[in-house]
């Protein structure tokens, strides 16, 4: 299996010469391979080109990350899993080394990325993608652009005093290059352990939960220059599969679970402890899935009323309840309500001024966004949509409602990290952070 790599900007429009990084490992591809790919992408009318495209005997495989196309081309019939996984890994490594993944950071760090590509792949064959090995070879320093952020200001304690806020890592803390410890200022010895869950839910029109899946992972992002063994303790009542229940309390159960190959599991069975020597950069230590059974109620409940008003007006009244515990909060909640194709305009009544709602004519949907939604609260909105030629059949076109949101400090499975120990204990400098977040992968409520 061999290929060449291109990273292209996907910010429209794509120009043939608009490739950021291009490396030809084999010298076999045509000079105009980039423009062939460009033509194929632009010739397609659909929303996104298919993952694999072929032109004569040349196959293009691409992934999209950070608004960029990461393209590999090969002439052999290679394993699609390998190429896709490699491109993802390349993007992840670029993010690790450059701090963030966007066109600007790739442009600024092109020398570093070429260096990475040179060490990762030789003659089209993957040599290594491990950060531990690569860090010995990578010499270039990452250049970062630091956006001005109010978070930085709020973190400065009054007269140098330790405020409560400085105990919380700013959200931008984990988006910096892993190699920056060489430079003087930003060299904090930090380690982040993130529990990230993606929830996908379908709720039927009668309010019954029809589908609920959770895909979760434990990610470690490590800025420690030297690795020492880390012990991560999970909930003791954590169980895998249906049969295996432990303890008498609220069991934290997942259906399936897989681990990174570097994770040592000798204490997992009895104490639910993961042992690992984290290498620099980001790694996924554990992945797990839970389907069909949520230990708690789904986070949002919708009570919709759709009716025909006089004339050509459609009334949509939505009552949305957040069933999270009162101390948690959902952020960036957006609710999308498809409306009839012929809808023209919208007037709305929302319950607070920080919410917004507008009619997106392109998607024929109302987008209602709520920046903060505290647990236990209930919000309502009334939308009046002007639909010429409204008939009772048009009501069928309203729905299903889809939502996206993030729930910080919350996991749907209830998975918690009991402790995080580095042994041997690192000299005081190291800081450990544990973060939880649940994203909505797909949250659909039928009307």
């Amino acid at each position: 299996m061999w290929f060449q790599i291109k990273i292209k900007s996907s910010l429209c429009p794509v120009y043939p010469g608009d490739h950021l990084i291009y490396k030809d490992y084999r010298g076999e591809a045509d000079k105009d391979a980039v423009s062939i790919f460009y033509e194929m992408v632009t010739a397609l009318s659909g929303d996104q080109p298919p993952v694999v495209m072929s032109h004569k005997d040349l196959n293009f495989i691409h992934v999209r990350q950070g608004g960029l196309y990461w393209v590999a081309s090969t002439k052999t019939d290679a394993s699609p899993f390998t190429i896709i996984e490699f491109l993802n890994r390349l993007a992840a490594l670029t993010k690790d080394y450059c701090g963030s993944l966007c066109e600007k950071s790739v442009r600024m760090n092109f020398a570093l990325i070429y260096e990475l590509l040179d060490e990762m792949v030789d003659y089209g064959y993957i040599q290594t993608t491990s950060t531990d090995i690569l860090k010995n070879f990578i010499q270039t320093e990452a250049v970062t652009s630091k956006p001005f952020s109010l978070f930085d200001l709020s973190n400065v304690g009054l007269f140098g005093a330790e405020t409560q806020q400085s105990k919380v890592a700013p959200s931008a803390a984990a988006t910096r290059p892993i190699m920056s410890h060489r430079s003087e200022q930003g060299g904090k010895n930090e380690i982040f352990v993130d529990v990230v869950e993606r929830i996908s839910v379908v709720i039927g029109s009668n309010g019954v939960l029809m589908k609920a899946d959770v895909e979760g992972e434990i990610r470690v992002k490590c800025y420690l220059p030297t690795c020492s063994e880390m012990r991560i303790g999970l909930n003791e009542e954590f169980s895998i599969g249906k049969s295996q229940l432990r303890g008498y309390g609220m069991a934290v159960r997942v259906d399936e679970c897989s681990f990174h190959q570097a994770v040592k599991l000798d204490e997992f069975d009895t104490y639910r402890i993961l042992k690992v020597c984290p290498s620099q950069g980001e790694q996924t230590l554990m992945q797990y899935q839970l389907s069909d059974e949520l230990p708690c109620a789904p986070p949002f409940r919708l009570f919709p009323t759709v009716e025909k008003d006089y004339g050509n007006r459609l009334l949509i009244f939505l009552k949305l309840r957040c069933d999270l515990p009162p101390k948690s909060t959902a952020l960036n909640v957006s609710v999308t309500v498809p409306v009839p194709k012929s809808s023209l305009s919208l007037s709305q009544e929302l319950s607070s001024p920080d919410q917004t709602a507008d009619l997106q004519l392109k998607n024929k949907a109302i987008l209602w966004s709520i920046p903060r939604f505290p647990g236990g609260a209930q919000l309502s909105a009334l939308f009046k949509v002007e639909v010429p030629g409204l008939s009772s059949a048009s009501l069928l076109e309203v729905g299903p409602v889809s939502m996206s949101f993030e729930l910080p400090k919350h996991t749907c499975t209830g998975l918690q990290i009991r402790f995080l120990r580095l042994s041997p204990t690192h000299p005081g400098l190291s800081q450990r952070w544990v973060r939880y977040v649940t994203h909505s992968d797909s949250y659909t409520i039928r009307i």
């Binding site: 992934v63 003659y123 996908s200 059949a393």
Partner: protein, 705 residues
């Protein structure tokens, strides 16, 4: 340079700059040189000296870097300079340099493709397979594979295969999947060895890395080709990881996972049925993933989940994207071939939306449904009549016309609809629509002559006199002459018997053996294909059917000819002796279908036996013991269970249909109803056949009770 500017004029300065000690600068200079060496070969030769000096640098990183870039200079005449550094690189004490040197051998070979392969290099590479560094080992395999491509690649014999298997654990996931791919070439000598290998690979099957899991599964399927049970076991254990890939955060990986699930479904549809919810679409997914998911959902339908799947598909029908909406409607139509009633309700409801693209897709689905499930004709015609929106695209128009022509007698407004089309004929662009219009008007004329005669005349006149398209004109001429030969003759030709499509629905999609798709598993091909099965094809339009019927009459299947040439045994003998059933050459589906349609039922009776609950394989084997051959069974869970069997006795061929739960025979109450057709007729053979059949079924039932 990276932005596409040509900066090759700076080459001379770059050559000078390469003599630096700063590694970062060196790397960038080398990158520059490799890019432009092809343009300036003469200047690049000047850089060789620096590169060769770096190859002897005490720092292994510098040595490796220089060697790698020297091999990457693609220009004529370079080989004489790089040969020596490569050979010394192969024996370098730093594994980093050895890795580079091994691949350097392959690069050198590609620079001079027509020269003899140096056997000493090949031997050295084979020896380096024992290198302690795993990457060097894998690179050796890669290099050998390229150098020996003309001889069929690297040789995987028993010691090498076992060596690779034992080292597998030390490799990283990329190398693992590559080695697993190469091991496809090895075939174990004995079953013992095979199972040893399989148990060694067992752990990799549930690997968290999708590439490793997929490569292992492919190797399993390949090695265990002779052991279907092992294959099935491997597939069921890879189900968890494969489902995890389908839900992975990376969309592209998700797509690859879905495509592979689709392949597995070709052999084992039942395995994923209970996981159907995993294939519900999420609104944020791109179209290509959602289309795949719909295709998969259609395959997963069974009695338990059909309601939920249909409800889910129904919610996609109003999607903003017309492609997705139409695909969802087509998916409902395909489910409708088994669960007709539920789907007809949904489809009819969609017509009320009065949206062009939805109406068009629904009408097309109706056409296919009527063709595959004749029992749905009534409700479909009612729905078409109630729909006042006509589709505007060519495909939709053709479908509507076909329905009007084929079942015009059930749609009271059919002549008016057709008249509308005929009035708009001058502005119609598509010749396919015009052809369809001709055919359906003629068909409607045959069933409702009084209302249609006038418009048919106008249509034929226009098409023969004013039409520019040659095909349409010829078709109109053909129909005109056909009508001249009289309505009976026209009816005979135009409405002649068609093949019975319900047969293909009945047999369902046969579960293909794993070997059909195993070779394309984990290759790019599996992502490009749409997994088109026989049922994805749209029903042929009426013109095709006419042709098919004509062709069927001309071309006799080989099995059929066999039948006719079979020596007729003297009946007296046969009548005297018991008419023993004999097994003959198998009859193809097509031949059976044709015979079944041509022949009359000679005997029909209710057997006092229930359907034995055995799986179809057991039934088939039991039937075969008494020389009754089986053509097709419906699925065990079907409400209307059917089986088609056949046998030969005393020079006659017996075809039989076993039916359970026939609606027209309510008093049978789960008893099997058997209908027999025969060619040539022979009553005693039928009696004998029935007694044998009854005996078998009774034995089977008593065994289980």
């Amino acid at each position: 340079m990276t932005q596409g500017l040509d900066v090759s004029s700076l080459f001379m300065e770059m050559v000078k700059a390469s003599a630096t000690v700063d590694i970062v600068q060196k790397k960038l200079v080398y990158l520059y040189m490799v890019t432009y060496a092809g343009h300036k070969p003469d200047l690049a030769l000047l850089a060789i000296n620096t590169l060769r000096k770096d190859c002897a640098d005490p720092n292994p990183m510098v040595r490796g870097l220089a060697l790698r870039n020297m091999c990457n200079l693609r220009m004529p005449g370079i080989t004489e300079y790089i040969q020596q550094p490569i050979l010394s690189g192969l024996r370098d004490k730093a594994s980093y340099v050895r890795r580079v040197a091994v691949l350097g051998c392959a690069k050198m070979h590609s620079l001079q493709p027509n020269t003899e392969i140096d056997p000493s290099v090949v031997n050295e590479l084979y020896a380096l397979l024992r290198d302690p560094d795993p990457v060097v080992m894998v690179n050796c395999l890669r290099a050998l594979e390229e150098i020996l491509r003309d001889e069929g690649g690297v040789v995987i014999n028993k010691p090498i295969a076992h060596h690779l298997l034992n080292r597998l654990k030390d490799l990283d996931s990329w190398a693992q999947s590559e080695v697993l791919r190469l091991l496809l070439r090895y075939c174990p000598r004995s079953d013992d060895e095979l199972f040893d290998i399989l148990s060694l690979l067992d752990g990799f099957l549930s690997s968290a890395h999708a590439p490793v899991m997929a490569a292992t599964l492919r190797l399993f399927l390949h090695l265990a080709a002779a052991h279907p049970a092992v294959q099935a076991d491997a597939l069921s254990r890879a189900r968890g990881p494969l489902l995890a890939v389908c839900g992975s955060a990376s969309r592209e990986l998700r797509f690859a996972g879905l495509s592979h699930v689709q392949q597995v479904l070709r052999s084992q549809p039942a395995q994923y049925c209970s996981h159907y919810k995993r294939f519900f679409c999420s609104y944020s997914e791109p179209g290509y993933i959602r289309l795949r998911k719909m295709e998969i959902l259609v395959e997963l339908v069974n009695d338990e989940n059909v309601v939920l799947i249909l409800e889910e598909l129904k919610s996609y029908c109003t999607d903003v994207s017309t492609d997705l909406a139409q695909a969802a409607i087509a998916a409902i139509g395909r489910i409708g071939r088994t669960y007709t009633e539920k789907c007809l309700d949904i489809l009819t409801g969609l017509l009320a939306l009065k949206q062009e693209h939805i109406t068009s897709a629904v009408v097309q689905t109706f056409r296919d449904l009527v063709w595959f499930c004749p029992q749905s004709t009534g409700p479909v015609c009612k729905a078409v009549e109630g729909c006042d929106e006509t589709p505007q695209d060519d495909e939709g128009k053709q479908a509507l016309l076909w329905l009007l022509g084929a079942h015009g007698e059930l749609i009271s407004s059919a002549p008016y609809l057709l008249e509308g089309f005929i009035d708009g004929l001058k502005v119609e662009i598509s010749s396919a629509v015009k052809m369809e219009l001709l055919t359906s008007t003629l068909k409607l004329f045959l069933s409702r002559p009084a209302e249609t005669q006038d418009m048919l005349g106008r249509l034929l006149h226009y098409c023969i006199e004013d039409e520019a398209d040659m095909n349409v004109r010829d078709r109109a001429g053909l129909y005109y002459r056909l009508l001249q030969s009289g309505p009976d003759r026209t009816r005979q030709i135009l409405l002649g018997p068609n093949s019975d499509p319900s047969m293909t629905v009945l047999t369902g999609r046969p579960e293909e053996p794993v070997s059909v798709w195993a070779s394309s598993f984990n290759t790019l091909g599996s992502l490009c294909g749409t997994g088109a099965g026989p049922e994805n094809l749209p029903a042929e339009d009426s013109a095709h059917q006419v042709h098919a019927a004509e062709e069927a009459e001309l071309g006799f299947g080989p099995a059929e000819q066999n039948l006719n040439t079979e020596p007729e045994e003297p009946l007296s003998d046969a009548a005297a002796a018991e008419l023993d059933l004999t097994a003959g050459p198998p009859i193809s589906h097509e031949a059976f279908e044709r015979l079944w349609l041509d022949l009359q039922v000679v005997h029909q009776q209710v057997l006092e036996v229930r359907r034995p609950p055995e799986p179809p394989e057991t039934l088939q084997a039991a039937f075969l013991l008494v020389k009754i051959q089986t053509l097709a069974f419906s699925r065990a869970d079907a409400a209307l269970w059917k089986a088609y069997v056949y046998s030969r006795a005393g020079g006659t061929l017996l075809l039989a249909e076993l039916l359970q739960g026939a609606p027209e025979e309510p008093e049978s109450e789960g008893m099997l109803l058997v209908s027999i057709k025969q060619q040539p007729e022979n009553q005693s053979a039928v009696r004998n056949f029935i007694s044998v059949l009854k005996r078998v079924l009774q034995t089977l039932s008593s065994n289980t009770s």
